[in-house]
């Protein structure tokens, strides 16, 4: 008997009182202003949410961010935001991304409850870019927002996921005497930009 058989055999031999698998349908937390809730929570975890009226306005909006102004190596996966520095399309080894100052990546949708953004691998050729860049900008269509984690998981078809991640805020640690330090291993800042309809009249500020 190999180990797998031995482990499973022991589990099968012991009958354990059954409990039904519960139905997850319920009335879960929702928000009258999901974008505002998102921005509030994101700020509390060290990130920042912005609004752009349309994709065309993105380059200008980002150009005003200090992290962008000083960046020499920018990898943008979101047109029309331009990349800077290396020719990132030619990267085959993710180690080459270590020099990245800013990575601009598309988020599929946002979750208001926890200020999380879902990113699927098919939109990001090298997932290392999300973690190794000094600063991360996620661009999410403004109408792609759900209230809570239940709606979030319902939206994703797991059969299509090879790698997918919820990101909520910049990388952080509190391992030294519970003092919060932003920028543990990964990005030192996270900016989420909602793009498109239902933008405020000034086109800015979530």
């Amino acid at each position: 008997m190999n180990s797998k058989q031995a482990i499973l055999a022991q589990l099968q031999q012991t009958r354990v009182p059954d409990v039904a698998l519960p139905d997850l349908a319920g009335t879960w937390l929702t928000f009258p202003q999901p974008h505002e809730r998102f921005a509030e929570v994101l700020e509390a975890v060290g990130g920042r949410a912005l609004r752009a009226r349309s994709a065309d306005g993105l380059p200008q909006l980002l150009a005003e961010l200090p992290v962008f102004q000083s960046a020499r190596q920018v990898w943008s996966l979101v047109p029309p935001v331009p990349s800077r520095g290396e020719d990132w399309t030619r990267v085959t080894d993710p180690h080459a991304l270590e020099v990245l100052d800013v990575c601009v990546a598309p988020g599929a949708f946002a979750v208001a409850e926890s200020a999380a953004v879902w990113i699927a691998q098919d939109l990001v050729p090298h997932r290392a870019g999300l973690f190794i860049a000094q600063h991360l900008v996620l661009v999410v269509p403004a109408d792609q927002i759900v209230h809570n984690m239940h709606e979030a998981y319902q939206r994703i078809d797991p059969r299509e996921v090879q790698f997918g991640i919820f990101v909520s805020g910049p990388s952080k640690t509190a391992d030294i005497e519970q003092s919060l330090v932003i920028g543990a291993h990964g990005p030192r800042s996270l900016t989420v930009v909602f793009v498109g309809a239902d933008t405020g009249p000034d086109g800015r500020g979530a």
Partner: protein, 461 residues
């Protein structure tokens, strides 16, 4: 330490010898508990989520063989390699074999209590493989050659001055530096080099989804993700109890875990691995190591529902004031007391007594493990097995004998009230009376409660 068993009280003694430090440790954990409360109270359906979490986990335990088989089938279909290990030894050998076959000698690891339980690091190091723990807290304890003292906050017992000294020695930071920002920055630079040089990444797993064959890893630092998105080889080690049935169940557990652990709405990174990185390999090592046997135990089975949030440690008045090391176990605190004493009562029989039975651990547990009841039950088991020292057994026997006889009990009370205040101090405050170490015995009332009550009743009539 007595080699045949651990003595919690004796080990806690060295920890509490420094009163200021004990106070600081206590407060640091209470701070986390308070943050947790705020996050939890902000979710109106919290209790509903707890009930769901508890049900899903218990259901999974009942059908564990089916779900494991399903998990493996789905994982294989997605091109993931699946290995099974009966015990820690086999787990370590499997990991070593995978690394050797691919000529790996430098590995980065993110937090995994399972690999701590299996003592994977020393095993790999003995075989010439460099293993670097990349979680900042874990790196701190690794450099100090200590084990973690908490399952979520590995370095909670270490002060910033000590981190400064450790980093000064190993990473060349300025002598005397204590600023957490500066120290964390130094670690960031040091670990970047390790990430860039690593040929493989090892992670633990928070949840394994039977329906999809994928696993979920939750971190705040991003160390797990960094460690496995650069090299082509990812080994994920998981206990067989990490299974959950459905993808949709993740909603319940991601909502519970971070809030209950540290008071965050969700961990910064919640990564879903459902296949290898393009051009690379993903391996699962599924480990039993006593879990199958624990599952067969009607009394302690539910401890396998644990999602390792650490909340029971943060809230426990004993853990907060005795420190993780006093438990001498990979998993300390209330859940560790149950897991270790249930599996090896002879060695760990003092742990269920390191408890006031206040029930706070069970109150905060997101999957409703009745930890306090299990600890009480364990005491019965330990007493029945006669593991307790003779003096404690005799004391219990005598107490029980007296408590069962009303006349004897009142007589003893009357004698004590009469005699004790007249005794010289050295007879009361000595080595035999641990209670007298830090406190005075209270003033004895002249009359017992029952005497007072009887009088009052007569008076009223």
């Amino acid at each position: 330490m007595n080699p045949t068993h651990i003595d919690h009280a004796a080990d806690a003694e060295s920890f509490i010898a420094n009163a200021e430090r004990t106070q600081w440790h206590d407060q640091a954990l209470w701070f986390v508990r308070a943050k947790r409360d705020r996050a939890v109270w902000a979710v109106p359906e919290w209790e509903q989520l707890r009930s769901l979490g508890a049900q899903i986990k218990r259901h999974t335990l009942a059908h564990l063989a089916e779900y494991l088989a399903r998990f493996e089938t789905e994982a294989l279909r997605r091109g993931i390699h699946v290995h099974w290990a009966r015990d820690a030894d086999e787990h370590n050998r499997i990991v070593l074999e995978i690394l050797r076959q691919r000529g790996v000698s430098r590995v980065v690891k993110s937090k995994s209590m399972l690999t701590e339980e299996c003592h994977l690091n020393p095993f790999l190091e003995r075989h010439g493989i460099e293993v670097v723990d990349t979680d900042l807290g874990e790196r701190i304890v690794q450099l100090r050659q200590e084990p973690p003292s908490h399952i979520v906050l590995p370095a909670i017992h270490i002060k910033r001055q000590e981190v400064g000294e450790t980093f000064h020695r190993h990473l060349g930071t300025d002598a005397g530096a204590t600023d957490p920002g500066y120290l964390a920055e130094a670690a960031r630079g040091h670990l970047r080099d390790k990430f860039m040089a690593a040929q493989a990444g090892i992670t633990g797993v928070n949840f394994a989804v039977a329906e999809t064959g994928g696993v979920v890893v939750c971190t705040n630092e991003g160390n797990a993700d960094m460690g496995i998105s650069l090299p082509p080889l990812h080994i994920a080690c998981l206990g067989i109890e990490k299974l959950i049935p459905r993808w949709a169940d993740l909603a319940v557990f991601t909502r519970l875990l971070a809030r209950n652990a540290t008071g965050q709405p969700i961990t910064t990174y919640t990564s879903h691995f459902q296949g290898p990185i393009p051009g690379g390999e993903l391996h699962y090592v599924l480990v039993d190591n006593g879990r199958g046997t624990l599952r067969a135990d009607d009394e302690y089975r539910e401890s396998l529902c644990c999602i390792r949030c650490g909340a029971c440690l943060n809230t426990c008045p004993v853990y907060r004031r005795s420190g993780g090391y006093s438990y001498h176990a990979t998993i300390p605190g209330p859940i560790g007391s149950v897991l270790n004493a249930a599996q090896d009562p002879k060695t760990f029989y003092t742990l269920p007594y390191a408890c006031s039975l206040c029930g706070s651990c069970a109150d905060v547990c997101p999957v409703k493990i009745p930890l306090d009841q299990q600890l009480l039950h364990l005491r019965g088991k330990i007493a029945a097995k006669r593991y307790l020292p003779l003096w404690k057994r005799l004391l219990m026997k005598t107490t029980s004998f007296v408590m069962q006889r009303t006349w004897l009990y009142s007589l003893a009370g009357r004698l004590a009230r009469w005699w004790l205040p007249k005794l010289p101090r050295f007879l009361i405050y000595n080595r035999l009376n641990a209670w007298g170490n830090q406190r005075e015995i209270p003033q004895f009332p002249r009359q017992s409660f029952r005497e007072l009550y009887r009088k009052r009743q007569q008076h009223e009539q």
